[in-house]
Symmetry: C4
Subunit: 195 residues, 4 copies
Amino acid sequence: MGKGRFEAFSDGVIAIIITIMVLELKVPHGENLEALRPLFPVFLSYVLSFTYIGIYWNNHHHMLHATHHITAANLWANLHLLFWLSLVPFTTGWMGENYFAVLPTALYGVNLFLAAIAYTILQLSLIRAAGEGSLIKKAVGSDIKGKISIMLYLLAIGIAFVSPTISQALYVTVAVIWFIPDRRIEAVLKDSEVS
Amino acid sequence: MGKGRFEAFSDGVIAIIITIMVLELKVPHGENLEALRPLFPVFLSYVLSFTYIGIYWNNHHHMLHATHHITAANLWANLHLLFWLSLVPFTTGWMGENYFAVLPTALYGVNLFLAAIAYTILQLSLIRAAGEGSLIKKAVGSDIKGKISIMLYLLAIGIAFVSPTISQALYVTVAVIWFIPDRRIEAVLKDSEVS
Amino acid sequence: MGKGRFEAFSDGVIAIIITIMVLELKVPHGENLEALRPLFPVFLSYVLSFTYIGIYWNNHHHMLHATHHITAANLWANLHLLFWLSLVPFTTGWMGENYFAVLPTALYGVNLFLAAIAYTILQLSLIRAAGEGSLIKKAVGSDIKGKISIMLYLLAIGIAFVSPTISQALYVTVAVIWFIPDRRIEAVLKDSEVS
Amino acid sequence: MGKGRFEAFSDGVIAIIITIMVLELKVPHGENLEALRPLFPVFLSYVLSFTYIGIYWNNHHHMLHATHHITAANLWANLHLLFWLSLVPFTTGWMGENYFAVLPTALYGVNLFLAAIAYTILQLSLIRAAGEGSLIKKAVGSDIKGKISIMLYLLAIGIAFVSPTISQALYVTVAVIWFIPDRRIEAVLKDSEVS
């Protein structure tokens, strides 16, 4: 099976997720600054999640670039990732509307953690389909960034019960780590002159 | 008429359906576990429907893969399927918010039943367009899975008035049956070396 | 300018319009038939509008099939059409929630009328870009269906103030007229063996 | 990296933004003209923002037409633009529901201003990727329209605190300036016979 419709469907779902999140920013009734103030934490959490979904789209894009065929297992691994990403608008809204309280901050981390696990499973599934000597296998390499992220998410979930602020700082840290797109894959793609 | 825009439109609608369903998971006002608890059945029904819509996308994808031309009748058969799928967010939300009560559980089954009928009509319509000796005719075969699903939906609708729990178990059973993508089509496609 | 991205954008907007309309079907609080009853007119109006948007997508698709180049004027004529179509979820919801009352029924007609005018403008704009001897000019022909629809919409708007039921019947009539896709275009395309 | 998926993702997000804005037009409870009246300013602000998003799609489309390769920096510059555009439904709704009051009018201008800055950054980022002698560099030229727009937005933000009506007139003025698509790029593309 070709990857065209696979990519198009993923892009569609990710584009909808990144856009409907803004619906959590409910238009306030008043027309002054007071009316806007309670929305500030919701806005901040929106910025964070927009960045995360942007990172996922970016990495998904790069990973698929190093892939040629899609198996049925890949398809389900991808839907599994999209499932956890689809919950990000909910956990983002809950965290924002509760001013980054303990439980919402922890749940946000659980969501990011499960999405990261799903992304890792998708990566492994694509590598298995392509074979051990494949381009994608080389491109992913030891996936240090992915492993660090998962550990930081776990750390942030635990710390949320002590200080949600530190958890938030950890979420921002992981976003910064990933902000720079996956040079490994780009480098390997360039080397192999496949792209 | 080519199938490119046909697939793109179907993908778009299915991607939107699978994503807007999450809007039924309304962000709760409290910040503790109590606030989250009433959402649990809504979440469960979301998982079930996400899987179903994923299965439909998957099967739609495979079926179109064995097709080359799209007629006007195919187009309307497809819109008919998308219509019933578009109601899934509504019936899912109703079932989840009422803790899998009798009538919502039955209506959910009616929705799945009508979507399955619409899928069968689309399949027949594509076969008629392609001809009796066509690839898609061979790929679909006797469509045992489809017939079993329809019978299980009817059973689940009736049983809902006795025990909604058994109906839920039947919905999960059908999802599991379809979870494995349609190997028949893949096998025939491989045999005929068309894909 | 090629028509690929033009079609993709139109498909995206139309797919979103046809799908978010279902959000007007608000999940009711009760779990019995009584809770569902007030939604019945909303459901009926949803069926009607789903059919209309489906017809627009279908005809848009066929019209673009007979076109090769898109000018800046075509682009704006298309956005103008999408604007009126984007209001259909609103006028549909208003009509459904007020049990097909006088003013909502008339406004629905105004919306359909303006969308039809916009479609006619887009058609003329595409013909002007392609030239008088073009395929699309021949395919559109005298556009009798389009002219009849516009007159029936005007009639329905006026009659709504006497009997909304007759207006509804007229809306259904127009939908039935268009339900059969534009054979003229298909026929001309086949003749010219361009498609 | 090719620009196909880049364009598709941008189109998806822009199509969703332009369509979900209509959700701010909440279906009123009454069935008479009185019920519709408070929606009139929301409708007007919707028309304005629909035009703006249409202009952005149009210009984005033209700009990408003069581009061949997309770098990682381009991707983030694009997501940055989409971020500010994604807030347009919110600022539009706030302005419409408050009858074009002072602060909502100013905030709408801030949103347009930041989107314009993001568009300029994307333009510069694409030019840097393509090189100084590139087609896009020539096509963009001195970008007088862009510079005028940014200055008019700043003016409108300031004036909003004196007369929101003048600010609205300025927003309409900028829309009119851009309504005519970017002839510069089309002209250069034609000259170079690349398109």
